[in-house]
């Protein structure tokens, strides 16, 4: 996989966002948060949306608040965080879909091009490149997927 790895919201960044919110008493104003963190609006929204998709924050109106899960993860150690995030990632439709596609293959793997094509078809409202980067990076973090950059294929991480 080529490209700027910071074009997707990384896990360490999301956890950092939760920490900022916890320090601010559990929430705040979305606009002000972006200003305080010197984040561009696009980047902030992408990050907040990612945290929300994992169930760590809610965004009622123009505000952002930590959920109980968002507080819990901050109390966990490195591998406790990993475990919780894995559980959350398993609830995401795109991860469920890709896991199913891969599991139907005999070698539990598919070329990146095929995955991108199916992502475009199945989730037409999403940016396929962004989705693919999240799949690889969160998938690796959660030990769900592996990705072989030289062969450009994604496969089910079955552990060692």
């Amino acid at each position: 996989m080529e490209g700027d790895p910071d074009q997707y919201p990384g896990i360490s960044k999301i956890v950092g966002l939760l920490k900022v919110l916890a320090e601010a008493g559990g929430g705040g104003d979305l606009y002000q948060l972006g200003v305080d963190l010197h984040l561009e609006l696009g980047e902030e929204l992408q990050l907040v949306r990612a945290a929300e998709s994992l169930g760590f924050v809610q965004t009622p109106g123009g505000d952002i608040t930590l959920t109980d899960l968002g507080r819990d993860i901050l109390k966990k150690d490195i591998n406790g965080r990993k475990k919780l995030i894995r559980e959350r990632i398993l609830t995401l439709p795109v991860f469920q879909a890709v896991l199913e596609w891969l599991s139907k293959e005999e070698d539990k793997s598919l070329p990146a091009e095929k995955i991108r094509k199916r992502l475009r078809e199945t989730f037409p409202q999403e940016d396929p490149e962004g989705q693919f980067q999240i799949l690889v990076n969160w998938g690796r973090y959660a030990e769900l997927f592996g990705y072989r950059a030289d062969r450009e294929d994604l496969y089910v991480d079955q552990g060692d």
Partner: protein, 255 residues
């Protein structure tokens, strides 16, 4: 956690270091003495270019002091100290090696047998939260994940002391918050060999958040201006009023 021994764990005694620069003698460090206790987290802060990285290299034994001594467990240090791991600001990863291979480098260089290498690399990759990334290349990783590779590589040689040279300064602010926390978790993890950390930083807040003691260094040629003990309970809170007081004090010593 602090050693009960009278003699300090790691000790710099009246260290000078001069670089020759096109025939001119250029002093970087002059008359610097510093003790570090076992189990301590010490931060070094000082003006830019004052000699912080040089000091870490002297501690590790990569360069020798022009005069003065480095003592480790009461023994005069003459070469590289094998009990120290180093984490770099720029990650220092080989782009053509994957995560597993980058982490294993230090062990391979030490001639450790392949079975132990496999076991240790797997253990420390897991400890820093990188399991699942073994075959990723540095270009595929975010800054935060790159620095975890740097940490795993430093930890897997099982050093007693971890040296870190501005380890978070190439990371964005949010990733930095997460990695600071996680480095502190590793420091307190009983399964880790590292008990003692010496970190260079130019961020005063970071020094106060993380360390037991902040050592303020002078402009070049550098020496210790003052050592400030940080007794705030952990985990620390930036909103603690004592935090601001310490921070103002360190700031006034540097500027």
């Amino acid at each position: 956690m602090v050693s009960m021994d009278k003699s300090p764990f790691l000790r710099l005694l009246d260290v000078d270091r001069v670089f020759s620069d096109q025939g001119r003698m250029n002093p970087a460090i002059r008359g610097l003495s510093l003790d570090v206790s076992e189990g301590e987290f010490v931060s070094l802060v000082g003006p830019s270019g004052c000699g912080k990285s040089t000091l870490l290299r002297i501690l590790q034994g990569l360069i020798a002091p022009t005069s003065g001594k480095v003592l480790y467990r009461d023994v005069l240090q003459t070469g590289v100290n094998p009990d120290m791991g180093m984490v770099f600001q720029g990650f220092a990863l080989y782009p053509w090696l994957n995560v597993w291979e980058n982490v294993s480098l230090g062990l391979v260089a030490r001639g450790v047998d392949p079975g132990s290498i496999r076991r240790k690399v797997a253990f420390y990759i897991d400890k820093v939260g990188l399991e699942g990334y073994e075959e990723a290349y540095p270009r595929e990783l975010s800054g935060g994940m790159k620095q975890r590779v740097g940490l795993a590589r430093a930890l897997c040689i099982e050093p007693a002391i971890l040296l870190m040279d501005e380890p978070f300064s190439n990371l964005d602010a949010l990733t930095t918050l997460t990695l600071r926390d996680e480095v502190l978790m590793l420091w307190k993890d009983p399964e880790m060999s590292v008990r003692t950390i010496v970190m260079v930083t130019h961020i005063i807040e970071e020094a106060i958040l993380m360390s037991d003691r902040v050592v303020v260094l002078a402009r070049r040629p550098t020496h210790v201006v003052e050592e400030i003990r940080v007794d705030l309970p952990r985990p620390r809170d930036r909103r603690d009023p004592e935090f601001d007081r310490l921070s103002d004090r360190i700031f006034s010593l540097i500027s």
